[in-house]
């Protein structure tokens, strides 16, 4: 590491700017100056230890010195005193004052002696060494001891000369036990002080030296410690910034060395983690790209996804994917990421040919081509432009398909440098994906073109059919009508010989017309263009009508026609025209192939497999069918055998067509026969075709419902693998008036979707057997189902994926029910047409019901208010037709109850009553009710009108108009 260290005060380290790996600008960091660094701490520690220690030692030493010196002085003084005392005895006795004085003077010369004083036994000062005289302080202080032992005192007195206080150790020794006198020696403490001071300062100096050494040592030591730590810190910082390239050098075997080692291990582990993370990111990016490539056919979107990921994963700044136009021999920019608008424009306008720029070069060489430093590249316009945009390095990877160049992928960076191998490999992969995407897009275009061709071919065919039918019918019409005219003339003019030929012509012409119609029908059924028009109609009248129509044939063949059905056979919902057609066909056949026999028509309703069915059986006692004939029966143009067509007439197509229609309605025509004895043909259709009923059978793992048809378009298919969710969803959707079919799991969901072609599908994503994404893809991939809106419902939030795969709506669980309903209503469009009729009068209810049914409504009835509330709870009607006078609970009470519930409050109510309303009644009803109608003569028309007014668009036709139905 090359950072400069500068030692600041108290050992702070300051690093100058770090050189190192090329990283982005934000990486220049200053190491935080430790506020209270290690050195400071050490020094503080040393101070904390050494200073008291030093102080104590110093004090002790000095004190000890002082004390020992004092003792010494004291004993010296005592010795002197004693010596003087003993040697002075004689002198004192002899009263030799001058000798005493001399003696005393001798002692004063000894170092440390401040004074000597001799007293006699009368306390008179005999001799002293003061000059000139004894200082007053002493005199004051001299205390006469009466004791025999020596006496040591510390006294002080002001120096007569200097005035400064002199500190003395005064030793008094009695002479001859005090009898003779006392000797006092004063030892000058100043010497002690001086000595101790000297010693003290010497010590201090010594300590100072030690301290300095200690500090220096500390500095050195700290530096030895902090240096690797600081290094660690800087590396750690780098790691924090994401730079894992450096490890800490392990220099010592101590704890710091351990720290460094552990740190390095951590960095290494981090590296592998980062690598894994990077790998995972890469994989994920690749996965997303792969997904994009396979899920959307919009080339621009896919390429954009690819280039975005490529740029990001290679940590570059921008990128472009080019497609190579072989005709023009130029590269065209198709997708850009991170590119400025000027660049986009520039690229759009520039015409890069093979061999030009890195793009062209990589294509020519069929290998990645990079320019690590733009500034060193050849001077050309593109290069200059790129430089002006801040681009310093570029790498281009060709998109190859079997050695043909179909494009290039370019990544650009704003920093110079070679692109690492890992990036090159990565770009290679992305290049592959790009090739796939472009291929797919091309294929798709082709498929689309083909599809359009087919579509237009099919349209031409339909057009042709339509034209042909017109063309064929026109001359036929002329033949028939003119011949009829001739026939009339012949009758008028009684030209009997002309009857026969004209009749023959007419018969042949009509037969031809029937054939043309049948062929057209079959062609349309084959092409899937036959529509079923579902309506409610009464069964009994239809049967009677057919019987009447075949009557001439019955009479001609001498057959007896017997009809049998229960009185309450009632209504059914189906294509009335086709049912009639089928029944007519069967009845005609029955009559045709029977002579002097019986044709019986039996109709009934039955509940099977949870649904209600209507069966109409036509039984004859005619020629019957052999098993072989039965096998061929429903084939087109085959009557039981070729000659029967000629003998018995008919086009031979009728049965096939009739059966197709019944199948389209969810039913079938079946046959039982015994050759020579007769046959029974049975039409079996659901009584309510076109609406899949929510029925208990859905719960047992789901048996597929019998196929309904295009007008099953009102059902919602709920796909989920959680039964509870299915139940709940079904319940609340049903309550909102939607017919619901549930499918448990993806497989069943797809199957039912194909069978039912529902109006909308709600699809859970997390399913065990087949996940929602697959189901969604399957639905959108199947041309039959692709137009069904799909609402994804899932815990996972992957909206973009959902939308890119074609979901109409994406809802995250828990689903906001209100929103789901809203979406479904939007999809299923129209006004709901579900009415609740509340009236205790049977006839009234029936009348209204029929009127509404004919108009295509769904109707629920209730006899009184209580039952009406029950019905309300089961399913929400779009409008309520309410009588007022009813037992149990009348209309008024019902309204109160109903309006009390928030969810029912805004259902429009139409009151239809015989009651003469009083003003009070009216005011009671006023706010709750849309309109009040009086029961009277034409109330049904008016009723429908009113309903149409209240719910605009809900009434299709007025009562009395028969539905025309669609035939073409």
């Amino acid at each position: 590491m090359d950072a400069d260290h500068r030692l600041g005060r108290r050992g702070e380290s300051v690093k100058a700017g770090e050189p190192g790996i090329v990283t982005t600008a934000s990486d220049r960091v200053r190491t935080a100056r430790p506020r209270f660094g290690l050195l400071a701490k050490i020094i503080l520690f040393l101070a904390a230890v050494l200073i008291p220690l030093g102080a104590i030692t110093w004090t002790l030493s000095v004190e000890t010195l002082k004390r020992s010196m004092t003792e010494e002085f004291t004993s010296k003084g005592a010795a002197i005193a004693n010596s003087l005392a003993s040697s002075g005895v004689d002198l004192i006795v002899t009263r030799d004052a001058s000798t005493v004085q001399a003696l005393v003077d001798q002692y004063v010369a000894i170092s440390g002696v401040a004074y000597v004083m001799v007293y006699d036994h009368e306390q008179t000062l005999v001799a002293h060494t003061f000059s000139p005289r004894v200082p007053r302080g002493i005199i004051d202080k001299h205390l006469i001891t009466g004791g025999v032992a020596q006496q040591v005192r510390e006294i002080q007195y002001p120096d007569p000369v200097t005035g400064a206080e002199k500190h003395i150790i005064d030793v008094g020794v009695p002479m001859l036990g005090g009898h003779l006198g006392t000797v006092r020696v004063g030892m000058n403490k100043a010497i002690i002080s001086a000595a101790s001071a000297k010693a003290g300062s010497f010590l201090l100096l010594a300590f100072g030296g030690v301290a300095v050494v200690a500090v220096l040592a500390a500095v050195v030591f700290a530096r030895r410690v902090t240096k690797p730590i600081a290094h660690l810190v800087s590396v750690a910082e780098r790691v924090g910034q994401g730079d894992l390239s450096e490890l800490v050098p392990v220099t010592a075997r101590d704890e710091i060395g351990q720290l460094a080692t552990t740190f390095n291990e951590a960095v290494v582990r981090l590296r592998s983690l980062v690598q894994t993370e990077a790998d995972r990111d890469q994989l994920r990016a690749l996965g997303e790209v792969g997904q994009a490539v396979s899920s959307t056919l919009d080339l621009e979107t896919v390429l954009l996804t690819i280039i975005t990921h490529a740029v990001r994963l290679s940590k570059a700044d921008e990128g472009t994917i080019y497609e190579y136009d072989e005709t023009a021999e130029v590269f065209v920019a198709r997708a850009n990421f991170g590119v400025s608008d000027t660049m986009v424009k520039y690229l759009h306008e520039s015409r890069i040919r093979l061999g030009e720029t890195s793009v062209g070069m990589c294509a020519v060489r069929r290998a990645p081509f990079q320019i690590p430093d733009m500034e060193q590249a050849e001077d050309d316009r593109l290069r200059n432009f790129l430089l002006s945009e801040g681009i310093r390095s570029v790498i281009a990877v060709p998109l190859l398909r079997e050695d043909r160049v179909i494009g290039a992928l370019v990544i650009r960076r704003k920093t110079a440098g070679e692109f690492p191998d890992s990036v090159v490999t990565l770009l290679h992969t992305f290049a592959g994906q790009s090739v796939l995407a472009i291929q797919n897009a091309q294929l798709f275009k082709e498929i689309q073109a083909k599809g359009e061709q087919l579509e237009s071919a099919s349209q031409l065919k339909s057009q042709f059919l339509a034209n042909m039918s017109h063309e064929l019918r026109t001359p036929l019409n002329a033949i028939i009508s003119i011949t009829e005219m001739l026939e009339e003339d012949a009758r008028d003019l009684k030209r009997e010989e002309e009857y026969e030929p004209l009749e023959r012509v007419l018969r042949a012409a009509r037969h031809l017309l029937a054939l043309i119609n049948d062929i057209l029908d079959l062609s349309k059924i084959e092409a899937g263009k036959m529509d079923i028009h579902t309506e409610s109609f009464a069964i009994a009248p239809l049967i009677e009508d057919v019987v009447q129509t075949v009557n001439p044939m019955s009479v001609k063949n001498g057959n007896q026609v017997v009809v049998n059905y229960p009185a309450d056979i009632g209504m059914m919902r189906a294509d009335q025209t086709r049912i009639r057609q089928a029944l007519l066909n069967l009845a005609s056949n029955a009559n045709r192939f029977t002579e002097r026999g019986t044709v019986a028509i039996d109709a009934k309703r039955a509940i099977e497999e949870g649904r209600e069915w209507v069966t109409i059986a036509v039984t004859d006692t005619g020629i019957g069918l052999t098993p072989e004939q039965m096998g061929r029966l429903f084939q087109d143009f085959v009557q039981a055998d070729a000659s029967t067509t000629r003998k018995y007439g008919g086009t031979g197509l009728g049965l096939a067509i009739s059966r197709r229609f019944c199948q389209m309605m969810g039913g079938d025509i079946t046959v039982e026969s015994e050759h020579g004895r007769g046959s029974t043909f049975t039409i079996r259709v659901p009584s309510e075709t076109g609406v899949a009923q929510p029925v208990a059978t859905a719960r047992d793992g789901g048996r597929p419902r019998p196929s309904a048809l295009m007008s099953a378009g009102s059902a919602i298919l709920v796909i989920d693998d959680d039964q509870e969710v299915l139940d709940l969803t079904e319940r609340f959707l049903t309550r909102e008036g939607f017919p619901v079919v549930t499918a448990r799991g993806g497989h069943q969901g797809l199957r039912l979707a194909r069978e039912l072609h529902p109006a909308a599908i709600t699809l859970d994503v997390m399913m065990a057997d087949l996940d929602g994404w697959t189901v969604l893809a399957a639905i959108k991939g199947d041309p039959e189902l692709a137009d069904i809106p799909v609402i994804l419902m899932t815990i996972v939030d992957e909206k973009n994926r959902g939308y890119s795969l074609g979901a109409t709506e994406y809802m995250v669980k828990p689903v906001d029910r209100g929103r789901l309903i809203h979406v479904l209503r939007d999809i299923c469009g129209a006004v709901g047409r579900h009415a609740l009729i509340v009236d205790d009068d049977d006839m009234m209810r029936r009348g209204i019901r029929l009127a509404l049914l004919q108009d295509g409504w769904e109707v629920v009835e209730a006899e009184n208010g209580l039952m009406a509330l029950e019905r309300l709870a089961e399913a929400r009607p779009d409008i309520i037709v309410l009588d007022l006078l009813m037992p149990e609970m009348d209309g008024f009470e019902f309204l109160v109850e109903m309006r009390g519930r928030a969810e029912w409050r805004d259902i429009p109510v139409l009151v239809l009553t015989a009651k003469d309303l009083t003003a009070e009644d009216r005011s009671r009803l006023n706010s709750d009710v849309e309109r009040v109608l009086q029961k009277g003569a034409s109330e049904l028309d008016e009723l429908l009108q009113e309903i149409g007014r209240i719910l605009p668009g809900s009434i299709e036709r007025g009562r009395g108009q028969k539905s025309t139905g669609k035939t073409e």
């Binding site: 026969e500 030929p501 023959r504 018969r507 042949a508 000659s643 000629r646």
Partner: protein, 124 residues
């Protein structure tokens, strides 16, 4: 001139029989191939008009038999058919037909073919 018309469709019989009679021919009708073969040998017509789609025995087979039998092989046969597919003509000729005509028939055309085969056919 006697013509044997082998045909099973009633309307066709009605139409052609009437018109041929009006044109002066004597017409006999057989309603299936077997009957046709029988009547050909029994009645010895001057010409046979043979519809090809017949019950019991179809027109080709009937023609073959007629052409195989010594008694009848000299009688010219014109095949009549509603099928207008390629190869039918060849098929008919291969069965021994002398000529071939398609339905719907046009009388002048048919008469032309008849006279071509029986040039001196007298009409009554």
């Amino acid at each position: 001139m006697k013509i044997l018309y082998v045909e099973d469709n009633d309307d066709n019989i009605y139409a052609l029989e009437t018109r041929l009679k009006r044109a002066g021919f004597t017409v006999m009708i057989a309603r299936d191939g077997a009957q046709g073969v029988d009547m050909a040998s029994a009645e010895q017509p001057d010409l046979i008009l043979m519809d090809l789609s017949l019950p019991v025995l179809d027109g080709w087979q009937a023609t073959r038999r007629i052409k195989a039998a010594a008694a009848t092989q000299h009688i010219p046969v014109i095949a009549l058919t509603a099928n207008a597919m390629a190869g039918d003509r060849e098929k008919a000729m291969a069965a021994g037909c002398d000529d071939f005509d398609t339905k719907p028939l046009e009388l002048p055309r048919l008469l032309g073919k008849i006279r071509a085969l029986v040039p001196d056919g007298r009409t009554q």
